[in-house]
């Protein structure tokens, strides 16, 4: 049986619209479940402690990026598999695991592989996958390009990097290497178990997406001329100056069987 932790606010209260469909799919896949509603994401650790049974197969996060992050952070250090039922269209981790859409995500609970994902830490916050650091103007410009109805009508809403000058940043890698550069965007990705280093940093120093720098380290400290948000999925978890670490800790995620993915191994 799975413990489903449901964020009722996620995806504009999407759960209530699809609840019947979800139960039908779960029954069809013979997946046993127990629904528990999350009243506040800060209470997720307590909710898990109160509701999780030793016989449960795992915990399923039903919600968006924030819900998934909250569940993962609550289960660090416990060998409990985590499943995801995405409620929003921008659930990046679910997308990267091949959990696109409700039927696929539910089928994965019945017929699954367990994938070991490396954990990273930003301050006191754990994460999996990747984190992004960008100047506010770059994020705002990208958001406006995506959502402006006139741009969409004219077919100009493609996502492109803006032409604004980036912010000067200093990035320390493992206390061994110092990087100085104008920074439009930084992508910090957790490397898999067999990587030489735990983190891969991709630095976009100019609007040209082909002009990148790639470096590897176990920890990254970023400081910019201006404060830059650190984003996981679409949730801002911190601002610069910030230290991001790759850990020798893992969490097991429930993925569709035979899912060919990078940066991890299946258990």
């Amino acid at each position: 049986m799975y413990l489903f932790l449901i964020n009722p606010e996620a995806g504009h209260k999407r759960f209530f619209r699809i609840e019947k469909q979800m139960k039908k799919l779960l029954d069809r896949q013979a997946v046993k479940y127990r629904f528990v509603m999350i009243d506040n994401l800060a209470n997720v650790p307590d909710i898990i402690q109160t509701n999780l049974r030793s016989s449960d197969q795992g915990v399923v996060a039903v919600g968006g990026n924030a819900t998934v992050n909250a569940v993962i952070n609550s289960l660090v250090g416990q060998d409990i598999p985590v499943g995801i039922i995405p409620m929003s269209r921008t659930n990046h981790l679910a997308d990267s695991l091949g959990l696109k859409g409700l039927p696929t995500a539910i089928k994965a609970l019945a017929d699954y592989d367990l994938r070991l994902e490396r954990l990273g830490k930003i301050g006191q916050h754990y994460f999996v996958g990747e984190a992004e650091v960008a100047t506010r103007s770059n994020l705002l410009t990208q958001y406006l390009r995506k959502t402006n109805p006139w741009l969409k009508f004219l077919g100009l809403s493609r996502t492109t990097l803006p032409t604004e000058v980036g912010t000067k940043a200093t990035i320390a890698l493992d206390d061994d290497v110092l990087v100085r550069s104008k920074t439009h965007r930084l992508q910090v990705k957790l490397n898999g178990e067999h990587g030489d280093k735990k983190l891969k940093l991709t630095l976009f120093a100019s609007p040209d997406p082909t002009e990148i720098s790639i470096l590897h380290s176990n920890s990254i400290a970023i400081e910019g001329e201006t404060k830059m948000p650190v984003i996981i999925g679409n949730e801002t978890v911190a601002h610069t100056p910030v230290e991001i670490k790759g850990l020798a800790k893992y969490i097991r995620l429930i993925v569709p069987k035979d899912n060919q993915l990078t940066a991890s191994k299946t258990a």
Binding site: S181, D196, A205
Partner: protein, 141 residues
């Protein structure tokens, strides 16, 4: 794998890249290929190949498998395989490698040492047999 110049021009998928407008300082240790198009100062150690691009400025000792210099390097270079200084390259420092190629226009200011490599040596017939002490004809096979 030894790269030809054409391979260097399309040096794809390096493990580490230092971009055009980026300055890096420190000791960079990695297992894969490194491409430098910006500035690097310090020490560079890799099991893979190193490419110093045309607009790059490197002030560092470099240790790698094959090293290709199309920009400016100030420092000593130790290439286990080949060191190639291309026509736009300028290297000021001492170098050691198994093979050294300097294209027309390329500059090396420093000393060069070649790594010992296996070479075919001619067999020489001994002039005396040990048992009888009989002198035999000298000859080279």
């Amino acid at each position: 794998m030894n790269k030809t110049r054409a391979d260097f021009a399309d040096f794809t998928n390096p493990d580490t890249i230092i971009g055009d407008e980026v300055s890096v300082e420190g000791t960079l240790k990695t297992g894969g290929d490194i491409q430098i198009n910006g500035q690097f100062k310090g020490k560079l150690i890799t099991d893979g190949d190193v490419v110093v691009g045309e607009r790059a400025t490197v002030t560092a000792d470099i240790n790698g498998q094959n090293v290709y210099v199309a920009g400016e390097v100030v420092g000593n270079v130790n290439a286990i395989g080949k060191l190639e200084i291309l026509e736009t390259g300028c290297l000021k420092g001492n170098v050691s490698s198994s093979a050294l190629v300097i294209e027309a226009g390329g500059v090396l200011k420093g000393s060069s040492t070649m790594h010992d490599t296996e070479r075919e040596k001619p067999e020489i017939t001994p002039t005396y047999e040990v048992e009888t002490g009989t002198k035999v004809e000298e000859g080279v096979n």
